[in-house]
């Protein structure tokens, strides 16, 4: 689908004629749009449209249709499954400049925002109203609401509050054919299919989101954070299950294992217990009585599972200190080796211990020590393999270890991705969890939105081999 040289100027002219001011074509400039944070893939786009308005997006999509050019929406490019990697010679449509907060409606606890708005800026902006935007992916300082919507992002606080889709009330979507539709809104119920729900998590394959109506959540009157250390990973994981089984749903329940703790200590000195095999960060929020009771319950369960230390933070400063290492984990890990491969799977919470043990065995077989920092309360694992691309065979070994880990997770009743999406990285693994009929139905849905197959093609669904096309 590469653009022919003689077409290049015609396309560029069409973008300009449609009123788009910023189109990048210089190979040096477009190179940074060739990949996201996934180590696996990259491809050079021929054009990068830096949209300055929703109209620009519509115009760009129409031009792409005219020239049959595949296009890929891009937020901050922090995706880890290759979702924002363009088709070679295709078009990237950057939404980063559509970053305005268009309306805050405290009475209905929601806000209309541009898709390029950075997650954290939203919560900061609505703080004066006593509200916040609950989904907080670890990348919240850079990732965009549009990217979060497209990947159905999760975060530490999604355990109690739910992932992105639970917080998206409405969307404005530019369809792959260039029409604009508004889905959902401030009321609870609208007639027709929940296409808003279908678009969330669709990785830019069903169109480009140009406005988002997000739900805002009242800030809790009381918040307590516990940092609990254990001498064994099994004890920590068992404590996680026991907390949930006891009927306590903390707002956050995060785990870090020893290799991860060592790196955090070495690079950011978070003051975490040095001799722990695993650390849990548990946060409870709500009214004072509930918070006190739950914090006590969590501490008791932890002690019953051989916790060696329970630290409690009640004021914001102490809380920030407990969270600091967790928030800084990825930055610290990046300093360890030049490359890392961050995985994302979910398993039923009750299978955590068994799966973590298997992951360690697999990684050791390939000569790696996995680092684990993850959303334990959801059973959402993020085993991380650090390697040096320059070292012969290291990258291939990391990939092979990853493939084996995936199979272990699926065998334990898990799924391919909890929050990072399928993208390119896992598209060919989809048949591990979905039948040919399931995939055929998803393909037909894609076609219903995108008859010309231009919106971020070849993502999320396995590549079609000839003759696989279901007869309909």
């Amino acid at each position: 689908m590469t653009v022919q040289i003689h077409q290049r100027s015609a396309v560029l002219e069409a973008f300009r004629a449609a009123g788009i001011r910023q189109v990048l074509t210089d190979p040096v400039e477009v190179a940074i749009f060739a990949k996201d944070a996934c180590p696996l893939d990259q491809a050079m786009p021929a054009f990068v449209v830096v949209a300055e308005s929703a109209d620009d997006v519509v115009a760009a999509v129409r031009v792409c249709n005219r020239f049959s050019l595949p296009f890929t929406a891009r937020g901050a490019g922090t995706g880890i499954s290759g979702g924002a990697v363009p088709v070679e010679g295709g078009v990237v449509i950057s939404l980063a400049k559509l970053n305005r907060i268009l309306e805050v409606d405290p009475e209905n606890r929601c806000a209309w925002v541009g898709p390029g708005l950075v997650n954290l800026q939203l919560s900061e902006h609505v703080r004066p109203y006593g509200l916040h935007y609950a989904p907080d992916p670890s990348s919240y300082m850079v990732s965009t609401i549009g990217g979060n919507v497209a990947e159905n992002a999760g975060g530490p606080h999604c355990l109690a509050y739910g992932v992105t889709t639970n917080h998206i009330l409405g969307l404005e979507l530019v369809l792959p054919t260039g029409e604009v539709v508004t889905l959902g809104g401030k009321a609870a119920e609208y007639p027709g299919f929940d296409l808003r729900g279908l678009v969330v998590g669709s990785e830019g394959t069903l169109g480009i989101v140009t406005r988002v109506l997000v739900k805002l959540t009242p800030n809790p009157p009381e918040l307590r954070t516990l940092l609990i250390s254990f001498r064994s990973l099994a004890d920590a994981a068992a404590a996680v299950s026991a907390v949930i089984a006891a009927g306590v749903i903390p707002v956050a329940l995060e785990m870090m294992d020893r290799p991860c703790l060592e790196v955090i200590e070495e690079y950011v000195h978070a003051g975490y217990p040095a001799d722990a095999e695993a650390v849990l960060i548990v946060e409870v929020d709500g009214l004072p009585g509930k918070v006190a009771a739950e914090a006590e319950q969590v501490a008791q369960i932890a002690r019953a599972h051989n916790a060696v230390e329970v630290r409690l933070a009640t004021d914001p400063e102490q809380r920030a200190r407990l969270w600091f290492g967790r928030r800084a984990a990825f930055g610290a890990i990046a300093k360890l080796k030049p490359n890392y491969y961050l995985h994302d799977f979910v398993v039923p919470r009750t299978r955590l211990v068994e799966v973590l043990t298997q992951i360690r065995t697999i990684c050791e077989k390939y000569g790696f020590v996995p680092l684990n920092v993850f959303h334990a309360g959801d059973g959402n694992l993020h085993p991380l393999i650090v390697y040096d691309y320059a070292e012969a065979g290291a990258y291939e070994r990391a990939l092979r270890a990853g493939q084996e880990i995936i199979r272990v997770c699926i065998a334990a009743g898990g799924t391919l991705s909890g929050e990072h999406g399928i993208g390119i990285e896992k598209r060919d693994l989809m048949p591990l969890v979905f039948s040919p009929e399931d995939l055929a139905a998803m393909r037909r849905l894609k076609r219903a939105f995108d008859p010309n197959n231009l919106a971020n093609p070849d993502k999320l669904l396995p590549l079609e081999t000839a003759g696989q096309e279901a007869a309909h």
């Binding site: 409606d105 009475e107 209905n108 990947e151 999604c158 739910g162 539709v181 508004t182 889905l183 809104g185 401030k186 009321a187 609870a188 119920e189 007639p191 027709g192 299919f193 929940d194 296409l195 729900g197 279908l198 969330v200 998590g201 669709s202 009242p218 009157p221 089984a245 009927g247 306590v248 749903i249 709500g286 009214l287 004072p288 009585g289 509930k290 979910v346 919470r349 009750t350 959801d378 059973g379 959402n380 009743g413 799924t415 391919l416 991705s417 929050e419 399928i422 896992k426 969890v433 979905f434 039948s435 055929a440 139905a441 998803m442 849905l445 076609r447 219903a448 939105f449 669904l461 309909h472």
Partner: protein, 426 residues
Amino acid sequence: MAVSADLRETLVGLVGPENVLTGPETLLYAVDGVAPKAVVFPETRDQVREIVRAARRERLGVLPFGGGTKVGFGNPPAAYDIAVVTRRLNRVVDYSPADLTVVVEAGLGFDRLTDLLRREGQFLPLDPVGPGRSTVGGIVAAGLGGLRRAFYGPPRDWVLGVAAVAGDGELIRGGGRTVKNVSGYDLCRLLAGSWGSLGIIVELCFKVFPLPPEDVLAVLGLPAPADLFGLGRDVWRQVPYPAAILGLDAESARTLTGRGPAGGALLVLFSGVRPDLESQLSQLRSVAGGRAEFFEVVRDDDLPGLWARLCDHPDLVGRDLPVWVRLSVPPAEIGAFAPNVAGRRFLADIAGGIINLYREPDDPAGMVDLRRRANAAGGSLALGRAPAALKAAFPAWDALPAPELMDRVKRALDPDGILSPGRLVR
């Protein structure tokens, strides 16, 4: 309507003669006055698949049927040949209390699921209408929020996995059994609220929740109806974490709560631990101040019965009234609709911006105006039930957003348009 011998024979061959009705009993499954030619009671998903395939060969209209509690929604079916009753698809497939997940077949009664979960101290906060008759599949297919929607979210937020037989007769699955999942398109959300138009849901995996330690319901009687929504919104703004804020007209308040405040009743539910509940109740008292003529607290054994009666609002509040109007507006706009409910019977979810209004089929012009105002406020109006004559003049739904796209989505899963044709989309 006479049924062709062929159809009966096919269906009997699939599920056995005891599970096919073609006689006058089909009237029990009438929708908008139209009885199906045949009613089938499949017991397995394979049977559902075969039934849909048979129907597709003959281009017959198929309506999935759960407990029938929400069958009044939607436009009259364009074709209604077979009712597929899910009631015998009622197995509990897998319940893992420690994972807070349960997998059940779609025809399982909500009350049975509730009993099962309660034994483990868990629940599913959906509050369906007609809790004694609703099936889980029907609740999800309708997607209507329950009385605690504003606090716990609508049914779609509780569905982790789904299996359904699409209109092409294939079994399709979305989601899974884990509490988080972004693998492929979210078919769970697509099927939730699709009103049987895309697939017949056969199995669901739900996320469940620990039962709160305690619930209390404050019943406030109002001297005059004008202040009901206003007070409800003040409570929503000023009292933390209400699990529900409901408004009832005077007469319904009398039937349901036994007290007859002239201005109707505001009901506020709190869930949690005792010290918090006491402080929430006292904050509620101070917000209500002199605006309530009485303030009663229902708790313990008295509460579940009252709550179940509230969930039964279409039958109790709407008793003898043929029209159920479901109005959904941005919550802060609800006050503007007070004049529309004045003197009528209603149950409102003030926190969620939903009004269930019950009335006579009189004044169709008033209905048109109400719809226009709901739309102008950014909301919607749906008919939950209405006589055929009213439905003929007044569509059951507002104009669909993105109708062509919806149509293409429909064709993607139901290429020949045999599932619930005409009820929601073509």
